[in-house]
Every structure is written in structure tokens, then in C-alpha cells.
């Protein structure tokens, strides 16, 4: 067994190619740096002012007093902007060789390669590759880098940008608003249904690299889109910070599904604000998997603003040695007959810590609303820890709210049974864990489901004995 553990690679995707940057802002944060970023990007004055205003908010706001330990982040040691290549590549061939190699090494799944024309790839701070599928463009769908959208669709961006998550929301939203770079802009016209998932592939490279992407999705009435975001990052000795902001508007009768599999290397602080405003009879679904990073604090939110709006959050967290996954969900019921379902599954082992933190709020007047929260935690050894911190604020009697949570370990009987059928102890644990997270796996796109199953098997090697 010892041999098996020692053979495990520390981090499968832990490699990196030499940095090739055209521009690298100085370390640390100041209004000069922020102005410089805006100037290089050739942004309109309103965006520059927005950034500067956000910077002042960031400086005033304190770190959250709750949640994971963030005291070791040194904001002065971070590069707030890097621009990898001069302009956005038009086709895959034009993407620099070294960057393409990185993708090969991650093993971008075959299914994804097939659709590469629709893939947005983020290498460091900016989207460097992006080519829109022609039929999507014909139907009026916009899918491009945020910087590009600011140039090509300034009115749309200005109308919605920062309206769902204003810089005042929290310290990291303010930071992102000041120094954001890259991310995706998605616009789905009324009645258009995009069958193929839109995918973005994010990566961090370069030491002390801050990644501050900004994503905005607008789904007009009766439209549908599934947006998929996957992350892997190479391993580095110094701490890295990832503070993204994702804003989504789901208009009447529309449906948006947003899938994330986060697998940052074990030194990244992953502090992300994600929120969706959901209109009448509209549906928002967050599927959020957190496997990597040193510390994650992420609570995808649904604000149910229209009558009959629905929200669903599926959250998966895995914490190994040195990791703290502080994840969860928020649902705010602000209109009658709204419903929300939150399902959280977490696994901790090797001294890792998982935390479910959630908010459920029923506003006065949200009659006939229903909310259901279910949290299950699996602890694989006595060194690990699991917490559940839900908050429920019920301000309307004509509503029904239920919350349930359980904490368990892998059953001896289950293990014994599986081993009696010829499985090794490791295989048996892997199988039980995969069964435990099944509700999340089954809603993932196939290639992600396969990847995740494989990852769990890999992680479970050497977990018993």
C-alpha cells in the first residue's frame, strides 16, 4: 500500500511551459495599475471609472469575518494583469505551439476537441482562442471574450455589467471589478435554444498569477443555454489567487444551466462570486464541482425574482490534505410560487475540511414558495472534518421549507460486500464514493462525468489501510 501511495503523482496537471508575456503589470495594486490595464485594453471611459471606483471599494472593504482562513493572502505579491499574446487567435492553428501543448497535456477530452471551434480557451488573463460556430452566429447568439464584447457590443455590456453583482457586494467582487480580465460574454436572443453546451477552458499559468475573469450571460425570454467551465492549473510554490465574478440574467421562461468543474492546483485561493437573477417561470441551474484549490469560498446564488421562477444548485466538494472547501449555495425567494432545490455532496479525507454554507431566504409575500436543501457529507478518516452551516430566514408563513443534512463514513458492510465480490479495498471505496456523488455525475456532460469518475478513482488510491 505504501508503495502505491508513493507512486501517486503529486498533481497530474502540475507542469508549466515558459512564460511568454507581451505585457506584465507590476506586482501589487494601485490606481496606476488599474488605469494602465484599462488603457492597454483601450476601454471606454465608463469602464475605466467603474474600475477605479471598484478599487476604492476594495480598499475600504475588510475580509469576511466568517468562512475559511484568508489571512495569508498577500495582495501586494500578485500580478493583476498579464497579456499572453498580442491578439486573439482566429483559428486553432494560430494558437501558439507552447499553449497548444499545454492543452494536450491536460488531455482536453476528445468530445471537446471535436467542438473546438466553439471552445473559448483562457490561458492566463485573456481569452486567446475563440471562434464562434457559424450556425450560432446566424441565430444571433453572441459568445466571445468579455474584452471583445466590450468593444463589439458596448451597449449590451454597459446595460448589464455589474448590475447583478455590484462591486459593493463583497471585497473580492470589488477586486474583480477593478482588475477583471477575460471571461466570457454570452447573449442568447429570445426563443433561441442552444443545444450544444458552450464551453470555456480556463487555466492559470505564471507565478503569483491572479486570475480575475468576468463572465456575463444574458438569456432572453424563452431561450436556453448550457454553459460549461472547467479549470485545471499547474502547480506552483507560491500562493495564487482566483477571484472571478459570474453574472447571469435568466429572463421570462428561459433556462440556463451553468456547469463548473474546478480543479485548481493545491495552492490556489479560489474566491468566486456567482449569482443569477431568475425571472417569471424561468429556470436557473448551477452545477458546481470543487475538487482542487487550497481554499475555495463559493456559493452560487439564485435570486428568484419572477412568479414561478425555479432555481437548482448541485454542489460537489472534495477536500484532501491541506484543503478547505467552503462551498454551498444561496436561494432568495422574492416572488410568489418560486421553488428552489439545493443538493450538496461533500467528501473529506487525509485531514481535509469541507464546509457547507448556505442561505435560504423567503421574503414576505413570496406565498406558495417551496425550498428544499439536502446536504450529505462523507468523512473517510478520523483526521478529516466536515461542517454544515445553513441559514434559513423564513418571512412568509405560506411557504414550505425543509433542510436535511447527514454526515457518515463509508459503511463497513458496503466495503465487506464489495470486497467479497473480489474488489480490492481501494476499488471498493472508490465505488462507494462514486455512488455517493452519482446525483451530480449524472447531470454532467458525458466527458466531464467520465473525467470526474476517473479523478475520484485516482484520488481514492491508497485511501484504505
Amino acid at each position: 500500500m505504501k508503495e502505491l501511495i508513493s507512486r501517486r503523482e503529486p498533481y497530474r496537471f502540475g507542469f508549466s511551459y515558459p512564460e511568454e508575456y507581451v505585457f506584465k503589470a507590476e506586482k501589487g495594486l494601485s490606481s496606476d495599475v488599474v488605469e494602465k490595464i484599462s488603457e492597454i485594453k483601450g476601454e471606454p471611459a465608463w469602464m475605466r471609472d467603474f474600475r477605479l471606483r471598484s478599487l476604492r471599494i476594495f480598499e475600504k472593504k475588510t475580509l469576511p469575518s466568517w468562512g475559511a482562513d484568508l489571512s495569508r493572502i498577500n495582495f501586494d505579491e500578485i500580478y493583476y494583469y498579464l497579456r499572453p499574446t498580442r491578439s486573439q487567435a482566429k483559428s486553432w492553428k494560430q494558437v501558439p505551439e507552447s499553449i497548444r501543448k499545454t492543452y494536450d497535456r491536460i488531455g482536453v477530452p476528445q468530445a471537446e476537441r471535436k467542438y473546438l471551434a466553439g471552445v473559448k480557451a483562457q490561458y492566463d488573463s485573456e481569452v486567446i482562442y475563440g471562434s464562434l460556430q457559424q450556425d450560432l452566429a446566424r441565430r444571433g447568439v453572441i459568445f466571445m471574450g468579455m474584452d471583445e464584447a466590450l468593444k463589439k457590443h458596448p451597449d449590451l455590456v454597459k446595460e448589464y455589467f455589474g448590475t447583478i453583482i455590484p462591486p459593493l457586494d463583497n471585497k473580492f467582487a470589488a477586486l474583480n471589478s477593478a482588475v477583471w480580465s477575460g471571461g466570457s460574454f454570452v447573449y442568447i436572443p429570445a426563443g433561441v435554444s442552444v443545444e450544444m453546451p458552450l464551453q470555456a477552458y480556463f487555466r492559470i499559468n505564471a507565478k503569483n498569477m491572479g486570475q480575475f475573469e468576468r463572465t456575463l450571460i444574458i438569456a432572453e425570454e424563452g431561450s436556453f443555454v448550457h454553459y460549461v467551465e472547467g479549470c485545471t492549473a499547474p502547480i506552483y510554490a507560491t500562493d495564487s489567487l482566483h477571484a472571478a465574478v459570474v453574472e447571469i440574467i435568466v429572463k421570462r421562461g428561459a433556462r440556463v444551466r451553468y456547469t463548473t468543474i474546478q480543479n485548481w492546483s493545491r495552492n490556489v485561493y479560489n474566491l468566486v462570486t456567482k449569482r443569477a437573477l431568475v425571472g417569471e417561470d424561468a429556470v436557473m441551474e448551477w452545477i458546481d464541482g470543487n475538487l482542487g484549490s487550497k481554499i475555495t469560498m463559493k456559493y452560487p446564488s439564485v435570486y428568484l425574482m419572477g412568479k414561478g421562477a425555479r432555481g437548482e444548485v448541485l454542489s460537489l466538494a472534495y477536500a484532501d490534505a491541506g484543503q478547505h472547501q467552503d462551498a454551498g449555495a444561496k436561494a432568495v425567494h422574492a416572488a410568489p410560487y418560486t421553488s428552489s432545490v439545493i443538493t450538496s455532496k461533500s467528501i473529506s479525507r487525509g485531514g481535509g475540511r469541507t464546509t457547507y454554507r448556505g442561505l435560504l431566504e423567503i421574503n414576505p409575500g413570496a406565498i406558495g414558495s417551496r425550498a428544499n436543501v439536502r446536504c450529505d457529507a462523507l468523512i473517510l478518516d478520523p483526521k478529516s472534518r466536515s461542517d454544515t452551516y445553513p441559514t434559513m430566514k423564513i418571512n412568509e408563513k405560506q411557504s414550505s421549507v425543509a433542510h436535511e443534512a447527514t454526515v457518515t463514513k463509508v459503511g463497513e458492510q458496503q466495503l465487506f460486500y464489495l470486497q467479497s465480490r473480489g474488489l480490492t479495498a481501494d476499488e471498493a471505496v472508490g465505488m462507494v464514493v462514486n455512488g455517493f456523488i452519482e446525483p451530480i455525475i449524472k447531470v454532467l456532460p458525458l466527458e466531464y462525468a467520465v473525467e470526474l469518475n476517473r479523478l475520484i478513482e485516482l484520488e481514492m488510491e491508497g485511501s484504505v489501510g
Binding site: 457529507a377 478520523p382 472534518r385 452551516y389 434559513m392 423564513i394 408563513k397 425543509a402 436535511e404 454526515v407
Partner: protein, 176 residues
């Protein structure tokens, strides 16, 4: 068993330490609020030793503009293997402006445990109410019956007569 009846505005803090191997304890809190009552409950069960068993059951009703804040914590310390606990918080909302905030927390630092919690809030079941009214009961009689049916199981299994009368008092407080 520790039984804590709460009528009207009150702050109650109860912490139970299970500090002996195999120790068992049950904490039952029944509360009722009406008018502008503000109830604040802070309840915890700390498992310090192996094979300890705890239960926290909180049941309450809120009328008018009454509000309740319920903090519940089950903490299982490192090494308290074989610990077993269930934290339950159930609130019946009778008032249009009644509010409840619920914080059922679990902190688990051992792996061989059974720990779970459940929290619910709901109005009186319209179907049940309709049935009782159709049998000739008045609105308030029907509500009283449903409230009693909701609260009674919290103390029923103890089989202590004195608790029954305490429970009556709570129901009377809320519904008169």
C-alpha cells in the same frame, strides 16, 4: 432529559457537554410566541468522548408578528468516535408576519459517527384544517388541535405527566 419550555420573549442558551464515554442526553425545547415576542435560542450538544449519544429537538409555533432565532449546534470533537446525534428544528408559522431564522450547524471532526439534522418551517396544513372544519370544529378549535398534534410528540415519548401540563400551558399561551 432536559426539557426547556419557552413562552414569549426570552433568550435561552443551553450547552450540553457529553464528557463521559457512552453518556447520553436529550434536549427538548418547545416554544411559543405571539404578538411582538422575540425568542432567541442558542442550543448546543458537544460530544467530547467516544460513543456518546445526543438529541436536540426544537419545536415551536409563532403567531402574529412573533419572531424566533434558533441556533443549534452539534459538535463532535476529534476522537469522539462512535458518537451519534440528531438535531431537529421544526417551526409552525401561524401569523402572517411571523418570522423564523434557523441555523442548524454541524461540526464534525471524527469519521465514525452518525450525525444529521433537519429543519423545517411550514404553515398549518390547509387540507387538515379543512377536514376538521368540515367535521364541525371552529377555526380556532381546529387550529388548537393541529398545534397540539404538532407539539405533543416532542414530549410524548418521555411519558412524564408533568410535561403534559407544561405543554398545555404553552399551547394556551399561544392560542389565547
Amino acid at each position: 432529559m432536559i426539557f426547556v419550555p419557552v413562552m414569549g420573549s426570552k433568550n435561552k442558551k443551553v450547552e450540553v457537554s457529553l464528557d463521559r464515554v457512552g453518556k447520553e442526553e436529550q434536549l427538548v425545547v418547545v416554544f411559543a410566541g405571539k404578538d411582538n415576542d422575540r425568542i432567541d435560542l442558542d442550543l448546543s450538544m458537544i460530544h467530547l468522548k467516544p460513543r456518546t449519544k445526543g438529541r436536540i429537538t426544537v419545536k415551536g409555533i409563532l403567531r402574529d408578528r412573533a419572531t424566533a432565532r434558533i441556533r443549534g449546534l452539534v459538535k463532535i470533537e476529534k476522537g469522539a468516535q462512535g458518537a451519534d446525534d440528531f438535531l431537529e428544528e421544526r417551526t409552525l408559522l401561524l401569523g402572517q408576519e411571523a418570522r423564523v431564522e434557523s441555523f442548524p450547524y454541524l461540526e464534525i471532526e471524527a469519521d465514525d459517527v452518525r450525525a444529521s439534522h433537519a429543519a423545517t418551517s411550514s404553515p398549518v396544513d390547509e387540507g387538515q384544517l379543512f377536514y376538521l372544519r368540515s367535521r364541525g370544529l371552529s377555526q380556532s378549535e381546529a387550529e388548537r388541535l393541529l398545534v397540539a398534534g404538532f407539539l405533543r410528540p416532542a414530549v410524548a415519548e418521555v411519558g412524564d405527566k408533568r410535561l403534559g401540563s407544561k405543554l398545555e400551558k404553552i399551547i394556551n399561551y399561544a392560542l389565547d
